[in-house]
């Protein structure tokens, strides 16, 4: 029993870890870039002091909310044509990274918008009163003041993605979560299940603590 568990892990774990890292890296990087930008767009188009743009804001809001309200499993299925078009297949970590990225972008965008909204409008007004331009205010005031909040948003997104990436296993995405389902669940290898879940628990803990530590360090209040 124990020997069998180790044999499976020895054979499969390395590959699963690499697949998870691939999925996580692709979706996390797209979220960091596009999610942050989308969050910024949500923020500046809703704010009187910047460029209030009702149409753009409403469209962005709807897109973000629709993506966030689709259950991830369904989103993966919906993304199959897109996977075919972009990577030529709908199995494997690269294909799974597409719905993961989309979900992560929408999720992070919402959190980033929230982090920006936390910035004291008074500080922005004070910056405006110096005659500063909007890009300068965004760079040196809004980003600086929201930075701890942004770090927390990145952490939460990362943790969420780990959960989603495990689900990607269901449609052949691969990864650690896939290992847990394929062997632990379908083949009753409880040992594999426990160890893979433990690995995920440890990764989430470390990520959360590290994110909290960074955010705390960045807070000057």
């Amino acid at each position: 029993m124990l020997a069998e568990t180790f044999e499976i892990l020895q054979r499969e774990l390395g590959k699963a870890v690499i697949e998870t890292i691939q999925m996580m890296a692709i979706s996390m990087i797209s979220a960091l870039i596009l999610g942050t930008l989308l969050g910024l767009l949500l923020y500046i188009t809703s704010n009187q002091m910047f460029v209030k743009q009702k149409v753009v804001n409403t469209v962005a809001e709807v897109v973000v909310n629709v993506i966030r309200s689709i259950p991830f499993v369904i989103l993966m299925v919906l993304c199959i044509p897109l996977m075919q078009a972009l990577v030529g297949t709908n199995i494997g970590p690269k294909a799974a990274a597409i719905p993961l990225s989309i979900a992560a972008i929408a999720f992070l965008a919402r959190l980033v918008d929230g982090a920006f909204r936390e910035v004291d409008t008074g500080v922005i007004e004070a910056a405006l009163s110096t005659g500063a331009s909007l890009p300068l205010i965004l760079r040196k005031v809004v980003f600086v003041e929201a930075f701890p909040g942004l770090l927390r948003a990145f952490t939460v997104t990362f943790v969420n993605l780990i959960g989603f990436s495990a689900m990607a296993g269901l449609v052949g995405g691969g990864g650690i979560g896939n290992l847990a389902i394929q062997y632990g669940y379908y083949r009753y290898e409880t040992g594999v299940m426990i160890i893979t879940v433990l690995i995920l628990v440890v990764v989430v803990q470390v990520a959360q603590n590290f994110g909290d530590f960074l955010a705390k360090k960045a807070t000057k209040r």
């Binding site: 004291d120 008074g122 500080v123 004070a126 009163s129 500063a132 331009s133 040196k140 005031v141 000057k220």
Partner: protein
């Protein structure tokens, strides 16, 4: 010179009856003066001052600065206007994630000051507000008064002609208030900057302002030099504010105990008009008793303003003559009861 022409600001839906925060305000603020706007909370003072750098767009009216209408300015033109108008706030509004140096340098960057010379300029500004040793700390470790002085350094970074102060001392304790006021006085002495200062605190007003406008319910109800506002308030709101500041109210039970042959007066004397001889003289010349219930002397711009609450007791006609005599010999007399 700042001229406000028919400034109105309403909040709420257009066309409907919104809330009128500022109603048809006309003001002329001279170059180089410290001009105060006082009034009870909710009077529209902050809204009015925010119109002066267009943080608040007026619903109607114009603001002319040195003859130029700024209310139509947009984009880079507006930024140029704002560069020339510093502003400080009740809650300082420093960037909490930036050091004192970075906070002040932000304004310099906004004003296009060359990057490599910024630190030297920040040092110069911090020296002016007495905070040279705090250049690399974060605002969190500063006291309220120190934060406000950093805010002053930031506001003055681009050597503006105008400094707007929105309740700048209202969140501070007495000591910090004095700290900030003395910095402002020093700045005034060394430059010809125009300061517009909003406050509900008449103590600060007394110490700093050259002229005062009193605002109530969105309207300017009185404008005068500081001394006259205190010595001879005209509008009921001004009177209320000034009286509250002097804290010379007679307790109700004293006022209620006034007899038929007694009257209660508040007398004001200004400058060199000595008051003791008047009271003495009255007691000598007329068959009346004069007792002093309350009194104080205030100094506004080095000019003395004295106030006494007195009770005059005597027969009706004699009392009337005595009161007439006092009236002739003091600056102002006000009957309380």
């Amino acid at each position: 010179m700042i001229v406000c022409k028919d400034i109105s600001v309403s909040f709420g839906a257009k066309g409907k009856d919104g809330f009128h925060a500022v109603k048809n305000v006309n003001l002329e603020i001279e170059k180089g003066e410290i001009f105060g706007i006082v009034g009870p909370s909710g009077a529209g003072k902050s809204t009015l001052v925010r119109v002066m750098n267009l943080l608040q767009q007026p619903t109607s009216g114009q603001v002319l600065i040195d003859g130029v209408d700024i209310t139509k300015a947009k984009g880079s033109q507006l930024r140029q206007v704002r560069k020339n108008i510093g502003m400080i706030f009740q809650h300082f509004h420093l960037i909490s994630g930036a050091t004192v140096c970075e906070n002040v340098a932000f304004a310099l960057t906004a004003g296009g000051y060359p990057k490599e010379k910024q630190r030297a300029r920040v040092e110069e500004l911090l020296q002016m507000v007495g905070l040279s040793d705090k250049i690399d700390v974060y605002p969190q470790s500063l006291s309220g008064g120190q934060k406000q002085r950093v805010a002053i350094a930031r506001a003055l970074a681009n050597t503006p002609d105008i400094l707007l102060c929105d309740e700048a001392t209202s969140a501070l304790d007495l000591e910090s208030t004095e700290e900030v006021l003395s910095v402002l006085r020093k700045i005034k002495e060394t430059s010809n900057i125009t300061i517009v200062f909003i406050t509900h605190d008449l103590d600060a007003a007394k110490k700093l302002f050259d002229r005062i406008a009193v605002m109530n319910k969105g309207e300017i109800v009185e404008v005068n030099d500081t001394y006259s506002i205190f010595a001879n308030p005209q509008h009921p709101v001004t009177k209320m504010l000034v009286n509250r500041n002097f804290e010379l109210d007679v307790p109700d039970f004293v006022a209620d105990a006034i007899q038929a042959d007694e009257e209660l007066y508040k007398i004001y004397y200004v400058g060199e008009k000595a008051y003791d001889p008047v009271i003495n003289e009255v007691a000598k010349r007329f068959d009346v008793d004069v007792s002093i219930l309350h009194g104080k002397i205030d100094y506004i711009h080095r000019q003395a303003l004295g106030i006494l609450v007195i009770k005059v007791k005597g027969k009706d006609d004699i009392r009337k003559e005595a009161v007439q005599y006092i009236t002739d010999h003091v600056y102002r007399l006000e009957k309380l009861k």
